[in-house]
């Protein structure tokens, strides 16, 4: 007989087993998906997970996409540990991109070494301000932060469209909805030659270090975790420590804002309509898949980046539609949540008890 039993203490191996199992199940489901499209699963997986890693271009692209995912997920995970659900990182990223771009456009042509750091700080502040709206509405008006952060993302997108077709549009740009190209002082230096990997990746690893220290070694971080571990029935209605709400949302917003600066001052080199292929949403999955742990998130962000790049490779070489990437992301989170059960419960196989004992056990009230 198989029976589930709550764990009395945390298992060291369980987090690894859970993530490995979730990835394995996603691959199995992915094979079925490839077959539905009439493609051989082997060719599909090769395009998705092997080919990107066979060229320096592919590896560079994976590292490039890993940066924003890692940065945003570290910020979100802190909030999620406290059960504060910021699902609007996409909007906070956009605000960060806008703020950084405004500085780059304002000081176009400047060679000041302070321009880029200034852009990063402005981006962090803008992301924090955008998330801060949700924190303020939550703490002052009790408004649910899940809905507010999501709605603010939609507003941020419209704000971006307005700016790139109006005030921030390149006057010499033949009416294309994009800003001027940033000058070299307003862009991150390339980190690895012949790739697009830039110095913003270092920011993501600094954020990882900070997140680790904050969550594992600091008192405010400890308070956040404890707050999250004792959830209350009225959580959805919104009753919790106001300070935790502010800290969680500001950290998440700041990290996402910096990621926005990393995009416009990185591979894009300008402000345009499409800044992010859904990094803000994918980072939610990355945070969970990494077990909401700063170290785990390093690996899950690499995997998610690989899925992004692999999706592009698969579209070009095998002809799989782009939707497959989204389905993969959804499947990963779905299977992770199913397997996460093993974090708190363990499966015990016991021999069926003798009939007499079980009936007497049932008779006892």
């Amino acid at each position: 007989m198989v029976r589930l039993e709550p764990r009395t203490e945390k298992s060291v191996a369980a987090p690894f087993v859970v993530t490995a199992l979730a990835i394995a199940l996603t691959l199995v489901a992915g094979s079925v998906l490839f077959l539905i499209y009439g493609k051989s699963p082997i060719a599909g997986f090769k395009a998705f997970f092997i080919e990107p890693l066979q060229s320096s271009y592919g590896i560079g692209e994976v590292l490039l996409k890993m940066g924003p995912l890692l940065l945003i997920a570290q910020g979100l995970a802190i909030g999620f540990r406290a059960r504060i659900w910021n699902i609007g990182a996409e909007g906070q990223l956009i605000l960060g991109a806008i703020a950084a771009s405004m500085l780059a456009i304002q000081f176009d042509g400047s060679a000041s070494p302070y321009l880029l750091p200034g852009m990063v700080l402005a981006a962090a502040a803008a992301g924090m301000a955008w998330a801060g709206i949700a924190a303020w509405l939550r703490t002052q008006f009790n408004a649910n932060e899940i809905l507010v952060t999501f709605m603010l993302s939609s507003v941020a997108l419209q704000l971006l469209y307005y700016l790139v077709t109006g005030p921030l549009k390149d006057p010499m740009g033949f009416n294309f909805p994009q800003s001027i190209t940033f000058s070299p002082a307003a862009t991150f230096p390339i980190l690895i030659e012949n790739t697009r990997v830039n110095a913003s990746l270092i920011l993501a690893f600094i954020a990882t270090l900070l997140a680790f220290v904050f969550m594992q070694r600091s008192l405010p971080g400890y308070k956040l975790i404890v707050g999250g571990l004792a959830p209350h029935a009225a959580r959805y209605a919104g009753f919790s420590d106001k300070k935790a709400v502010w800290i969680a949302l500001l950290i998440g917003g700041g990290a996402a804002g910096v990621a926005g600066a990393g995009e416009v001052a990185g591979p894009l080199g300008m402000l345009q309509r499409n800044i992010s292929p859904g990094y803000g949403y994918a980072a939610i999955i990355v945070a969970f898949l990494g077990g909401l742990h700063p170290i785990g998130i390093v690996f899950s962000s690499a995997l998610m980046a690989l899925i992004y790049v692999g999706g592009d490779f698969a579209r070009l070489s095998v002809g799989l539609p782009g939707a497959v990437t989204t389905i993969f992301q959804g499947l990963l989170l779905t299977f992770y949540l199913a397997c996460a059960f093993l974090l708190n419960y363990r499966i015990r196989t016991t021999r069926p008890a003798p009939a007499a004992v079980s009936s007497s056990a049932e008779a006892t009230p």
């Binding site: 509405l137 649910n144 939609s154 959805y236 989204t326 199913a338």
Partner: protein, 307 residues
């Protein structure tokens, strides 16, 4: 002016159908304690599946049935995750939301930009011929009236019947309901499936009647507005329906303002539903007693029978 008013009333009644269908389903799910944030994904899947069914069979009934089935199937994933695997409801809702967007894009890929015949309008004879009123209220397809009937029926079932009492008991206190012998998990799963089916019907209405074409991303945030509507309506069907019609009207006003050529950035108009949602959410949620009194006590919490 009267023309504009007729246009807004008629348009509001139609624009509200997808919102209200999905909101009815989400209300029932939340009443049983299940906070399913995947409405956007369920509507998108229903829209894509329903559209394909109408394209292939030419039957709108088949379209709605397929949409309902697809929405329910996706919500089954959520139900399994949250009831059997005790997954966090917020995370599980996001998971099926993403999954639904991917699946809908995959289903609809081949049909991108194609159209079907819209659901035919009912003929009320002399009523439809009434000046102005006829066009405002009696020139619609069957779903415009069906959604009102569904809202009333759901309200009656939830508040006046034994079934409704059991659902509410499960949502307020699953442990008490379990102790009384009610199958909490089965009831919660059934409510979630109902929610998925209704969201699927709402989505199918979008793609086969409201704008009878398939375009990826056509649900355009409606699923999230539906989740917000439940809070606006403080879990009461009458208020939820009122909120839904109000939102339908807002989307129509947006169209009218653009039509009148008022000089407002189009992006501000596009952002207005979200801005209004945020403001209304803050105003309604401001009164914690109202929320605490009306929201199901166990909303968002997983249930595991303790023996």
């Amino acid at each position: 002016m009267t023309e504009t008013i007729v246009f807004i009333i008629a348009g509001t009644l139609a624009a509200t159908v997808p919102l209200l269908f999905a909101a009815i389903g989400e209300l029932v799910a939340e009443k049983s304690g299940m906070l399913n944030l995947g409405v956007e994904g369920m509507m998108a899947t229903g829209a894509a599946a329903g559209f394909v069914a109408v394209t292939l069979t030419g039957s709108h009934a088949a379209g709605f049935a397929t949409g309902a089935g697809a929405g329910a199937l996706l919500s089954l994933v959520y139900a399994v995750l949250t009831t059997l695997f005790l997954a966090n409801q917020v995370a599980a809702g996001l998971a099926i939301g993403i999954l639904g967007l991917g699946v809908s894009a995959a289903i609809g890929k081949r049909y991108e930009g194609t159209t079907v015949d819209a659901l035919p309008k009912l003929d009320f004879g002399p009523l439809s011929d009434l000046p102005l009123i006829g066009r405002a209220f009696f020139d619609h397809d069957i779903m415009v009236y069906a959604v009102i009937a569904a809202a009333i029926a759901t309200g009656i079932v939830l508040t006046k019947t034994r079934l409704g009492l059991v659902i509410r008991a499960v949502g307020e206190s699953p442990h008490s309901a379990h102790a009384l012998g009610y199958p909490v998990i089965a009831i919660r799963a059934a409510c979630v499936l109902f929610g998925g089916a209704m969201a699927g019907i709402g989505g199918a209405y979008l793609s086969t009647a409201y704008t009878p074409l398939w375009a990826e991303g056509m649900v355009a945030g409606r699923g999230w507005i539906v989740v917000a509507l439940i809070v606006f309506g403080s879990w009461m069907i009458g208020r939820i329906a009122f909120g839904a019609y109000l939102f339908g009207a807002v989307s129509l006003l947006e169209l009218s303002i653009q039509g009148l050529g008022v000089n407002v950035p189009s992006q501000l108009l596009s952002a207005s539903p979200y801005l209004i949602t945020i403001i209304v959410l803050a105003v309604i949620s401001r009164n914690p007693a109202l929320i605490r009194l009306n929201s199901p006590m166990s909303l968002g919490e997983s249930f595991r029978a303790s023996r």
